[in-house]
């Protein structure tokens, strides 16, 4: 557990350092994810301890967004002034993005003559 947590932190740290050094347009943790991914490819497998740590951390991934979300209290005034424009823009554009992404992917898969992942249906 401690080894895999340390490895996650090292990947994040290296990611942050590279982003800072080269002014890359991605957040440090996302680059860290890429580094760990490359590491797993080289190692050809996920060590069981890393699998457990990742599963534990990710099973409550949504909890980790709560502190940032509470920051909404700082902007209640601004949101009140423009709630209609903001609300309609957020809800509609999110629905559009979801539909466009899913339909583009499935449409192109179909064009390429590939079957959808039938064993993977909800």
């Amino acid at each position: 557990m401690i080894e895999s947590l340390t490895l996650l932190l090292i990947c994040q740290l290296v990611g942050e350092v590279l982003v800072g050094l080269f002014g890359l347009p991605v957040p440090g943790p996302v680059l860290g994810m890429l580094l760990l991914f490359i590491g797993l490819l080289i190692r050809r497998g996920v060590p069981p301890v890393m699998q457990t740590t990742a599963t534990t951390l990710l099973s409550h991934f949504s909890l980790l967004f709560v502190p940032a979300g509470v920051g909404i209290m700082l902007h209640i005034g601004l949101l009140e002034d423009a709630w209609l424009a903001i609300g309609v823009a957020l809800i509609t554009s999110t629905a559009i993005a979801i539909a466009v992404t899913a339909l583009t992917m499935l449409g192109l898969e179909r064009l390429a003559g590939r079957q959808p992942d039938m064993d993977q249906q909800p």
Partner: protein, 238 residues
């Protein structure tokens, strides 16, 4: 016994109280979500935020004071994002099989998320700095704040809009995808990850590992695509 107000002063300035409250509020949200058959409309993040904002406003606690305690939870976002490499690796065979459609879908999703949000906000008469703050709202928080600053928006407002978008996407996505008869877990995960970044990915992860892996991948690549494309488009449109 100490007087109660003295005890309150101690607790309110100690990180323990707000750290504990954050976990309790989330567990209440999670309990409600499960009690009602995992209805996406009862998003645990949204319930926790409503409870906590209500409590903080009622007790006159500032966000800074709250964050003293909550930062320990917030900190774990970084290592957890790195950990998304694990489900991605486990699903790599599936990802590799459809690299082309996947990348095209993410770029289309990135463009449609920002452009439709900007278009609607302009039509409804939002102020320019609100329009610029709303443009990168589908991107994960740190990078969205950077993009907003570049476009002349308010980074701290963007942070809030990003969270709201995540909650909306996690609530709206699953019923919308079912309505569109999209049953492929890869496409479902990809769509939620593009539109609703980490909060959507958290939700996808709970439902299915394939969806979770594709969602995490979409979140990362969408951040990259939007960071490159949006400032270019912006200088071209405005």
């Amino acid at each position: 016994m100490k007087p109660i107000d003295e005890l309150w002063v101690y607790l309110a300035t100690n990180p323990l109280l707000h750290l504990t409250l954050t976990l309790v509020a989330y567990l209440i949200g999670n309990r409600l979500y499960r009690r009602f058959g995992m209805n996406p409309l009862l998003n645990p993040v949204m319930i926790a935020i409503v409870i906590l904002v209500g409590l903080l406003v009622a007790t006159g606690t500032s966000y800074g004071q709250y964050f003293e305690g909550a930062q320990f939870v917030h900190f774990l976002l970084g290592p957890a994002t790195v950990a998304l490499a694990v489900p991605l690796y486990n699903q790599f065979a599936r990802v590799r099989r459809s690299v082309g459609p996947l990348l095209a879908a993410i770029i289309m999703g990135s463009l449609s998320a920002s452009l439709s949000a900007v278009g609607i906000a302009v039509l409804l008469g939002a102020a320019p700095e609100i329009v610029a703050s709303i443009a990168p709202k589908s991107v994960t928080t740190p990078i969205a704040m950077g993009i907003a600053e570049q476009l002349g928006g308010l980074p701290s407002l963007t942070a809030v809009l990003v969270i709201l978008t995540g909650v909306v996407g996690a609530m709206l996505g699953p019923p919308l995808l079912t309505l569109l008869r999209i049953r492929d877990w890869r496409a479902r995960g990809l769509a939620i990850g593009v539109a609703a970044h980490g909060i959507g990915t958290a939700r996808a992860m709970q439902v299915n590992e394939v969806a979770g892996a594709f969602s995490g991948l979409a979140m990362g690549l969408n951040a990259l695509a939007t960071a490159i494309l949006l400032p270019l488009l912006w200088s071209w449109i405005f």
